[in-house]
């Protein structure tokens, strides 16, 4: 009978001992998460005030970020979006740190993978942000230069430049994230090459006359400019 009781009590005791050993870890996890939520909330409040003070939203308006968000049907203020992103990033970070306090091998490896992936995710975000600014800058430069040269397809040209750069930037970001890199590189090569060939063929086939006129009139315009008004 005693042996039978031992058979029942031993696993219970073992579970109790394991729980007793595990409880501090659980407590540590909960504490980390609670502190994390409080810290994230405080950072969110401070950041909101800071962005308001430096007029971050107006800056985003000027840089064209707000317009980009509106195009994507996002109607929140840029400062709010940025602060919420930081908040959730911190929450996820604290959750991961909290989980690692459990000392469970499977979770530990998941957490370490998450943190190892962070630099890649960060680089991808930086590539996207810088890429967006560069694409906007170059596209606007092309638009203005084309208009000032009197080209009828200025907007088309500017949009083509923006499209090509966007494809390039997206491919770079995905490559950085290591999301199916071989497919990304192949898809990028096909799309980028396709666009260039399509432009070349369409201009070459449909625009032979236009190209001839442009080359001819370009020479004439230069000759004509010699006799033109002196601006300064």
């Amino acid at each position: 009978m005693e042996g039978f009781l031992n058979l029942i009590l031993e696993p219970v005791n073992e579970v109790y001992l394991k729980f007793k050993g595990f409880f501090p870890n659980l407590l540590a996890m909960l504490t980390i998460i609670i502190i994390g939520v409080i810290v994230a909330w405080l950072v969110k409040a401070v950041l909101l005030k800071f962005f308001k003070a430096i007029k971050f939203d107006s800056w985003c308006d000027r840089m064209g970020f707000t317009a980009l968000l509106r195009k994507a049907d996002v109607w929140a203020k840029p400062a709010d979006i940025f602060v919420v992103a930081v908040y959730w990033f911190m929450i996820i970070g604290f959750l991961m740190v909290g989980f690692s306090a459990l000392n469970i091998q499977a979770i530990d490896s998941l957490v370490s993978e998450f943190f190892l992936y962070l630099p890649r995710a960060f680089s991808a975000v930086v590539i996207l942000l810088i890429g967006y600014m560069v694409a906007g800058f170059l596209s606007r430069a092309v638009l203005i230069a084309a208009v000032n040269s009197g080209l009828h397809y200025a907007k088309l040209l500017a949009e083509a430049v923006r499209l090509l750069l966007t494809v390039l930037i997206l491919a770079m970001a995905l490559e950085q994230l290591k999301v199916a890199p071989s497919i990304v590189v192949a898809a990028f090569s096909i799309i980028f090459g396709g666009i260039v060939i399509a432009l070349a063929i369409s201009f070459g086939v449909a625009g032979i006359g236009a190209a001839r006129r442009m080359i001819e009139s370009g020479g004439e315009e230069k000759k004509e400019e010699r006799g033109e008004v002196e601006h300064v």
């Binding site: 000027r62 203005i144 000032n148 080209l151 004509e224 008004v229 601006h231």
Partner: protein, 403 residues
């Protein structure tokens, strides 16, 4: 220690072998004829010419007897010196300032090296107002074709005049006279690592002289004919150089120009006469074409800069036929002031901002050309005067928006 000189004449150059000989001879003759008792030095500040410019200067000789001029006490010395620092006309002129200060010169002049119409009288007209009348700065006044100098006529002159209250007709002329005191002042300014060293030296010299209350005047030099500019030189780049220099100075002197109201004439030296000028071809149709391209494609940028009200007026303009196309002076004035505000508030990168002004500027120029086509030179000048009055009348708008 450099030798002393009473007069320093600077000639900045870069590959001007074809024309600089004539310029040096004219300067030499001018100094000998009008200032025979003064010790003079001609300084050629060269940007590293490879076409033999310096040899041409050394060999450019004049026969004083043939010119029927009094023999000078001493011949004008000629110095060719490479300038240092940022490549550009500004750095070349800085070297002239430095030499003028080192030599203790009382009066100086700068003349371009590509001039074909310079005569010895130009030297007298640029130097005498300083030496004999006590002026510090002499701006040039040229007889120009009514279609020429459109950036000057539609932006630089009206704005400089409205801002600083002095009617200097050619603020970016290229030739100047100035006192040794002003050369010393210029030299002390901390601008030689900025765009002033590359371009924008002309408007900088004029504006600094007016804004810092130096005695300014202008001298009528006749027609200005120089080597044809590079046909490939881009209007957008030209506009960026001139307008960004103008706006930078507006930024710098904002405390001064806000107080100025109206404008006054400055003393003008020299005998005014009209010169028969070559006909200038203007392709109005092409200008209006670019204006309309801008209207279709740059609406977004213009809306940010000039606001919806003025953009509406610009869009209405585009609907007019070529013959009826007229750019209202008030609208143009507000547009330029809005661009100055946008530049001040850094709404766009400076290059993009000013290049986006090109179609509007061409629209304004086309309108001006059509308006004054049948007018004589005085009629065209009266139209420019109307625009200047508009700039002065609307200045309060800029002052109130400048925060």
């Amino acid at each position: 220690m450099a030798d002393k000189a009473d007069i320093v004449v600077g000639i900045p150059s870069y590959n001007n072998a074809k024309t600089i000989g004539h310029v040096v001879r004219a300067v030499d003759a001018g100094l000998a004829k009008y200032f025979p008792d003064k010790k003079a030095v001609i300084v050629n500040s060269d940007g590293g010419s490879k076409d033999g410019t310096s040899e041409v200067i050394k060999n450019a000789a004049i026969d004083h007897n043939a010119l029927l001029i009094q023999h000078p006490l001493s011949m004008a010395h000629r110095i060719t010196t490479p300038y240092h620092g940022t490549p550009g006309k500004g750095s070349a002129i800085r070297t002239v300032f430095q030499m003028a200060v080192d030599m203790g010169a009382s009066a100086c002049a700068i003349v371009d090296s590509d001039l074909r119409s310079i005569t010895p009288e130009w030297i007298e007209l640029l130097i005498s107002p300083v030496l004999k009348e006590g002026n510090d700065f002499v701006a040039p006044l040229y007889d120009r074709h009514k279609f020429d100098g459109t950036i000057t006529n539609s932006i630089v002159y009206p704005m400089t005049r409205a801002f600083y209250g002095k009617r200097i007709r050619q603020p970016i002329g290229g030739e100047f006279g100035f006192s040794g005191k002003l050369a010393e002042f210029y030299l002390k300014q901390d601008v030689w690592g900025t765009d002033v060293a590359r371009f924008g030296i002309d408007i900088w010299m004029t504006t600094e002289a007016i804004a810092n209350d130096f005695r300014v005047c202008q001298a009528f030099l006749g027609a200005k004919i120089h080597d044809p500019k590079d046909p490939g030189s881009d209007l957008s780049e030209m506009l960026v150089q001139v307008v960004s220099s103008l706006f930078d100075l507006t930024e710098k002197h904002s405390d001064k120009w806000k107080e100025v109201k109206g404008s006054i004439d400055v003393p003008t030296f020299g005998f005014r006469y009209h010169v028969g000028l070559e006909h200038v071809k203007v392709n109005v149709e092409r200008m209006l074409g670019i204006f309309r391209e801008g209207q279709s494609n740059l609406k977004g940028i213009w809306l940010d800069v000039i606001g919806s009200g003025d953009l509406g007026e610009v869009l209405v303009l585009g609907a007019q036929s070529d013959q009826d196309f007229r750019f209202p002076l008030k609208l143009w004035t507000r547009i330029i002031y809005d661009y100055a505000i946008a530049y001040h508030k850094k709404k766009l990168p400076p290059q993009h901002l000013i290049k986006s002004l090109v179609p509007l500027y061409l629209g304004k120029t086309a309108s001006f050309v059509m308006e004054v086509e049948e007018m004589d030179k005085d009629g065209a000048e009266a139209e420019i005067e109307k625009l200047c009055m508009e700039f002065e009348a609307n200045k309060a708008y800029l002052v109130n928006s400048w925060k």
